[in-house]
Symmetry: C2
Subunit: 441 residues, 2 copies
Amino acid sequence: MTILLTNAWLLTIDPAMTTHNPGWLQIEGTTITALGSGTPPTIENAEIIDCGGDIVMPGMVNTHCHMAMSLFRGLAEDVDDRLYRYILPLERQFVTAEMVRAGSALSALEMIQGGVTCVADMYYHETEVGRVAAGAGLRAVVGQTLADFNAPDHQTFDEGFALAEQLADEFAGHSLVTASIAPHAPYSTGLQMMSRIARWSDDHPGVIVQIHLAESDVEVHWARDTHGQSSVEVVHRSGLLKPDLIGAHCLHLSDSDIALMAAAQVGVSTNPRSNGKAGRGIARVEALRQAGIPVGIGTDGPMSGNTLDLFAQLAPLSMFAKLRGKSRAPLAAATVVRMATIEGAKVLGLAQSIGSLEVGKQADLIRVSLAAPRLHPIYDPYSALVFAALPSDVTDTMVAGAWLMRDRQMQTIDPQKALRDALQIAAQFNAEIIRIDGTAP
Amino acid sequence: MTILLTNAWLLTIDPAMTTHNPGWLQIEGTTITALGSGTPPTIENAEIIDCGGDIVMPGMVNTHCHMAMSLFRGLAEDVDDRLYRYILPLERQFVTAEMVRAGSALSALEMIQGGVTCVADMYYHETEVGRVAAGAGLRAVVGQTLADFNAPDHQTFDEGFALAEQLADEFAGHSLVTASIAPHAPYSTGLQMMSRIARWSDDHPGVIVQIHLAESDVEVHWARDTHGQSSVEVVHRSGLLKPDLIGAHCLHLSDSDIALMAAAQVGVSTNPRSNGKAGRGIARVEALRQAGIPVGIGTDGPMSGNTLDLFAQLAPLSMFAKLRGKSRAPLAAATVVRMATIEGAKVLGLAQSIGSLEVGKQADLIRVSLAAPRLHPIYDPYSALVFAALPSDVTDTMVAGAWLMRDRQMQTIDPQKALRDALQIAAQFNAEIIRIDGTAP
């Protein structure tokens, strides 16, 4: 089956940032087989879709997420001790396979509606996340979290490794879902366990490692007080600092930390809205990129960042860099769009197959409607995407040649059911919050 | 004619932040005449609108804008010298009454679609802006800009005053549009002219004064080098620091500047996206509010901020305050929503008639659909508005009891015509930009 998209404003995000307007793109099976400007080729039996001048671009890559946490969205907003007061008690009581399924389905729905075609997730009961992604047709890197606090799905690290093994087995060879292992953070995993995870990872080539890295003052103090080093140096000592690693957040980095990370060829996921909302600081994104480190964009969990589309991250990411640099120049709009697509793919080790519209790559793409007056005039399509477009402008989402959304209609998820299941569990949370607060929140 | 809204999640934004869910609200003519919880009253011949559980709240107040500049949206993004390289030459060549009409109409359309019901604008040919607002049914404070550079509509300050007089005459007694005078900025107006404007303002009670204040390093240096004072101190000396003044931006403020402003009872418009995009810095919003200064939210012109709805400002405003305070606590979500509504109304001197849903106030309100899965669960409606809602969630916009948008259908503006007129002029800009650059942008 061949699909031919015509009359599109194609932003390929290839190395030359080639655009075609009007452009066309041909898809056979899961793969982009041709694209160009001007008159499209004549193909028999192709489904021809006139894009009416809309933008067609690579689907966005969300490089850090906890999909199940959509059920905590907006809970205990503006409260500094929310982690210990609300989240950990709620997680211990309520995080079950069923909860993870419901929260992940709501998040998958939101990501598909908002133009995300690939996500890196880390949480508990992660096999369920992989199944939800596979069912929704979403590309995903799913990481079993290992932590030394009372995790909801394992009591010991041995049990955690067993879950990671199961996850790797279940998705071995899967076309969309890649297994991953996710030590929660240096301070909550410890040097010894990080070393063991590094060896485990060596024995499981292709299994991505995800970790919260250099995120908080707590972590900085732990590394200094326990090891007399920076957090990045401790991770390096454990053997985990290597090309398969995704470091999420990376707020507290010295120049020598960045040099270590660059030499080790790790990838970074920056999470501007999550970091901004927590008042944690502004990541040194320009310095990381100048050191040659690929930096993708993450939403973090919806309790921290509230939204799962990348549009909500683009303007904050750009503004933070400009505020840090005291100039309009840092992180130009086109660079931000590259980070949301090809650079995110690189962070996930998937740049050979996704992240740009090029012949031979997987057909992971979105169509962005230009119907809204608020987008016009458009002197620069990247500026329009970064500073004016909304996730609700995405009308069509395709992964591996399959439509997940067509003309805003979901193809693989029943939105009513996903929302109903989620709200049923959220109602239980609400009752518990009222108990914790002693009053209605 | 009576309108009864039923089955609404009413956020009144009254002093007690009263909510009614399900709530009802009764409108007679231009005015809110009753509201409450539970079963609505039975009223003969009323138009009854079931809001299906959606949020109904006061329309948002955009306290700083240059509506006509929508035609420059996204132009020369990421370029530090854009003002001198692009904007001023383009303004001198292209800013005519016709251009101002077209740009303002596009902006009025976008604001109504995004839930803004009142705007403070300052630009050239400002009578045209007032006419566009009046025609669209939008509430507006329209300020004739006075500046000592080659303004597009006046060569001398005397000519500028004549335009301000005409503006005040045309809208004297108008129910929606209030005339205003707008010295561009301290450095571009000068002490002597600011003094003259202060006296003119004393002779024109009710005419709001708008000024760009403490916005840039250029201004800080000018005030120090020319007067040995801060910019706020120079404005104070001119007599302009008074309750009718709206200071836009206010980024470079000392504690004593803030004390001066508080004593003078001025209002402030903070413009987070514009300031963030320019890398100019983070306003001391918490300090201003703690000093008792009302702080409203502005979009700035769409060349600086790109969007004209306030939803795009809410999360950045909150994140900036939390980054400045290194905590989640500053500017809680409910406070941010107050700033977007009642506090903005206070800045514009309109808090007695708009900014909250209370009996006797004007019926300026919006309905925000909760249909999108990305908004749920909702533990706190203010968090949902600040961190998850989009301008595209606004389905209905009412000013003074008249619908400007119903179920996303525009009632007072032809969107196709507004967009067509705007794009026609933007095409001329594009040709000139290509000439300036010597290459395609």
